[in-house]
Symmetry: D2
């Protein structure tokens, strides 16, 4: 085995950290829901999305079920919640059906907030003393799980608001400055034999393991993601009406759903507008393109004479780039144009702004084995029919990301902050 490359993130003192991190993550979730009314929090705009109230409860259910349940000093807040807020863990027992999460007017938002407080009290009590390693690992998993739902709170509310003719605003104040980045350039990589996947010692999801060897041919990545302006050229060039640019399954979706522009785009008086968490606005040509499906990303790449990167190509490039950028903490809640060039030969905006679709189906790494028990359902059972995205978005907490992090969605999914960075083959 080649030695694992050092990871750029600083180590933390885990024992003392856990209680503080628990508080921080839990507070962040509540802060994201703060601008929402009881009604905003109760509605479900499509089967893929969930009500914010459900996210608030489900992330709490995770700690109750996998950490607190069965402890002598813990009584469940409400036994019915075990079924109501289970997402998909068959091993835990029955679940309330996902498409019916929007039928639950009760418990109301106040009760769910009380549920959070109740579980937080028990968790803080537990965290006053050092945990055994199994419990610590489960808490760590729960915090990373909750960060995933923080991003979903934003994308689900965005979708809900987009269906309201009044186009409600989640956060007032548009963050965009007038910036005009230069052209994208190609950054070459030599390829060769290398190791990929999580090398420890920090937290990672099971799907990032085991670390394994793979061979890459030489390749190049674009220096920045595709922008709204570039994508508008594709649309203007008849991109949605030219089957030769699309995967056959993608064009079937285009026809069946009548797609003729990206999600949230509207042609208003000759101008493209898009819906954002700041309301409806004209598209900005220099902002990274978001809310693309895999099929649209792939068709764009073909139109541009390029291709999508594989997830290992992306990972190869990313491990040399510090995790920083337009992430949740920036408060922009929308991709932002590249303000200043990144260092020479370094891809910009790898982290944050938009998740970048890769050409890699979401499959187990060689040697992957799902963990035992209900938590083994976390990742493994979804390893078919989806594609990997990398890099995080403007709605992802910075502490949630790693170069080995694998996000995944079905190829027709558009409501995430998902975009595209081009790749191409180069001579050895």
């Amino acid at each position: 085995m080649l030695p694992p490359r050092p990871r750029p993130r600083a180590a933390t003192s885990p024992a003392l950290d856990l209680a503080a991190r628990y508080d921080g993550v839990r507070r962040q979730t509540v802060a994201l829901a703060a601008p929402l009314s009881a009604e905003d929090g109760a509605l479900q705009s499509m089967p893929d999305a969930s009500p914010v109230k459900w996210h608030l409860a489900h992330t709490t259910w995770f700690f109750e079920t996998f950490v607190l349940e069965g402890r002598a000093d813990y009584a469940p807040f409400d036994p019915a919640f075990r079924v109501l807020f289970n997402s998909y863990y068959v091993g835990v027992g029955e679940r309330h059906p996902r498409p019916e999460r929007g039928l639950l007017s009760r418990p109301d938002l106040a009760s769910v907030r009380a549920y959070r407080a109740y579980v937080d009290t028990a968790m803080r009590s537990l965290l006053t003393a050092p945990c055994d390693p199994v419990t610590a690992a489960r808490i760590e998993l729960g915090l990373n799980h909750e960060q995933q739902h923080q991003e979903l709170i934003l994308t689900d509310v965005k979708h809900l608001f987009s269906r309201n003719p009044a186009a409600p605003v989640y956060r007032a104040g548009w963050p965009l400055a007038q910036v005009r980045p230069g052209r994208a350039e190609w950054i070459g990589y030599a390829g060769g034999l290398d190791d990929f996947g999580h090398a420890g010692p920090g937290f990672a999801f099971d799907n990032e393991s085991p670390r394994h060897r793979a061979y890459l041919a030489p390749f190049a990545l674009a220096s920045r993601p595709v922008t709204h302006g570039e994508f508008a050229s594709f649309v203007g060039d008849g991109g949605y009406r030219r089957p030769e640019l699309w995967l056959a399954a993608g064009y079937d979706v285009v026809v069946a759903r009548g797609w003729n522009a990206p999600l949230y785009w509207q042609a208003d008086a000759g101008t493209w507008t898009t819906f954002t968490l700041h309301g409806r606005v004209a598209i900005d040509a220099h902002t990274p393109m978001c809310h693309l499906s895999f099929y649209e990303a792939d068709a764009y790449a073909r139109w541009a004479g390029a291709r999508l990167p594989t997830e290992l190509e992306w990972e190869r490039a990313a491990r040399e780039v510090p995790i920083a950028g337009n992430l949740l903490e920036s408060g922009a809640l929308h991709p932002m144009p590249l303000a200043e060039p990144s260092p020479a030969r370094t891809p910009a905006q790898l982290w944050g702004d938009v998740w970048e679709w890769t050409r890699s189906d979401y499959a187990p790494y060689p040697g992957y084995v799902a963990p035992n028990g209900a938590l083994g359902e976390y990742n493994g059972k979804f390893m078919s029919g989806q594609y990997v995205l990398r890099g995080g978005s403007c709605a992802t907490p910075a502490s949630h990301l790693r170069p080995t992090y694998r996000n995944f969605f079905a190829p027709d999914t558009r409501w995430q902050f998902s975009g595209v960075r081009l790749a191409r083959d180069i001579a050895a």
Copy 2:
């Protein structure tokens, strides 16, 4: 023409009444929504149902659009509401799609209440002086329209709560007393040539006109509706598994939706329970059966060796019976068993308890012409594919009913308080 029979309801002094009736109906609507949280009011449990908040707004929209709009002294509360709360009036312009009423977290419940108050103020001001006849007729129509939505508020909330595993209670306190009514008896009618439909002078919907002549063969009606206990015998006799008892279209629905019992019934430990506005309870054998589709009512009648009445048979019987019974004002919000026998040869429970399915498709009466303008869409365009129900239910305001009143729903509809009274042919 035969002379119209006198109608049993007392005349009212219309001029003075209208303002008082406006207040009464509007207050009743608010009272029905009072026990509900913002979240209860925002959700839509199926495309047939609407959120309570929408009912509150739409009934207000009706007065704003058809009475206040265009008056010099009236400015719309919010111009966007014209589209948002239009139900189906193509003549008024665009509508927000019915299945998406549950996607509107905004305007919130407080705003809709403010909308009601704003319109009420304008209406009360208008009603201080006598109205011209066209305006008075529109207000009258608006009040009857609002009463229809009062019933829907109850049936839609009931359906929503039934989908919640916690089975929330709309009104605490179960109204049922132990009552054991006798057997149903047959009450005969001679038939012959007679006039049907609205004869004036009070309010009626356009679909009750014109008054017209028809010939009825001799017939008999059951002295009371079919009960839960009787229907349980049908279920126990394999009623849902015997296609020979059903209309072909009805049995197709049984198979496609997997029906094996009425809506809201569950077999819990060998006992049938049902969901009510008072929570989940064991069925009471002597209570009129409710939440039947036309297909189930028809299959039950065939199983019982009888048939459904036609709407004219029902109307013939009803005009001799005063409008009284278990209606909205009783507060029971559930059908109730017959406590004392009705006068000899008089059908009991014709009014209230449950709407009674008839064998009559909802068709225009001979000579029917839909009114001009948007209000002409009120009834006429729905005259296909539905069946007529008569008599009102425990959720219908008493002042809303007449012997000529025609309710109508598609034959697979089950969420209304709909039941069945048997009929049969008799010799001349």
Copy 3:
């Protein structure tokens, strides 16, 4: 009861006739299938239609099952056919699913012809002696049943051929002469109390009974059906884009299926063409309009300021008109323009050309009771969700019709030769 009016058709000597009629009807069926290849006979173009081979077998199955089965001297041709060619008789046992009739390449057409010959031999042997009344009634029913399938053979082949880009021709030689009929006129009827339904003594289906009394208000019927030219004016006037002209359920179908013209119409270089059993041709303005759904017929009538007749109005008019016209025997296989005016005050083309949609839902007559046994499924179980058509078409055998004959189809059905005759109310 009023005395039944005499029926205009001549009585026949039933005993001697039955054998001859059996031969005639059976031969007619074979003749209709003669122009078809084995492949033409095997395909099913939609769930509503059946392969011709299936029609040939099912009509034979009817005699085998309801007449021959169980006789000492009869052995079934193939026991598997009992299930394979049962259409919908639950009382007979299992059925092969209707939408899968087009999956049966075996038995092949030659085998089905052998099945017909085998059953015909047994039937002819039976018919050498007089039958008992029950058997005779079943044979009579079987012949009328087979005539219904003769019409379906033509409409089903027409639909199949219409789906083939090569537009195959069933019968060469276009029958239309250049004819220019005059304007339609209104023919008035006084209405009043009258008796309707079958009065005997000849054959009728159970759904035409019992004869019963009804009251009709005065009405008028158009002197001829609506023509292709008149319907083209409706299309040209935006008929398919104006919801105010349609029943709500009808406009839902228009939108969901993208209807913008009648079935089989194509706009070819500015001209409407239509598909016929003689191939694709330009529409003829003076030919009665065919292949309309109930919804289209109703919308046209509203556009024209008229309405559909009820089935009793139609029956009232028809009993004074001899059964003659463009029926199956004319060989035209397409409606034909009115060549010469009918006698004054007599509606023309009541019989043949096109089935005429009525405003009457297909419901049981007062006092109707379905027969016992499997044959009781013939009509009664379809009495919901359909509308009555009257008068026969260019594909109906003349001997099949009566003034009381009730055909019925779902309101969105278009592949039959179905058209529309206007009606309106008149003063008493």
Copy 4:
């Protein structure tokens, strides 16, 4: 680059060969259709399958369109066939919709045979002289294309016949001998860096290129495919009712379609039977399992404590094994039990019997570029949402296969002769 390993198949003299190979492949197709009636050849049993008549015509269309069209000495047989028999080549122009291939009773089978003869005459004339390389490559592609359809003729007819209650027999005479193979054993491979994909010089599809380097971890393959008996144990162990054994997307399919056994299996009196091209028979425990979807193959592997191989693992093993086995030429048309052990450390039945699902999604190889023009649609546009199968089946012509051959189907596909060979990880 590592040097490509020598391929085990003998070189052929291409110039002289092409005419002979053309004749051989074309004759084989006709021979496969010989047992079928006109009706057998016309029906389409599901959208995935095509009528045999369509296969006969489409494979001919391929030569007409891509080889003959545009030559001075060639006139099209029927210009309408250009649209009618185009499968999916957007670049060629319009296509007749795939799900409607079963609506074409015309052209009949005799006409399609005439079409084949006409094109064969033109092709043979062309092949009397040496071809230019482009033409030769297209003919080679056409022959490989036709071999693919030979397999589909068999699987499509099998599916059609399976839907007929009479269970018709395609070929009489059951080929199975009583054989009891030993237990499967694990055969280990060291892994490492290697080259994969087509190395020339013979024909290969574009999706087998370019040859490229990849690294494999050590792995083991089972010495033979999973058998019917082994799969019956999975079924008996509740395999279809245990979601923990399945990918989530796979279990969704199990529930939605009500799967509880493999395709074609029926429980008859306590025994599993299956439908074959020789009729319905009891399953044979020792025969390789066929007609599995990817999801079932994957669930079985999980139940058995193993996994599916990747396509590169399979290719690594296969290049050491000569192409021989139970292929189309054996005439068995069904998988067969392993009669004699294969040489030590050599996997048996890699070639033929059943296609083996791999864990690899069907993706472009590194550096893959689709060819220009309509033929570029052959493979590239299907590279999403499907999984790779390797090795051929009892319905694949021997000359059609190579170690680099990639077959692919959607993961819910079951009507191909698709099975599973287990794999597992081993220590380095």
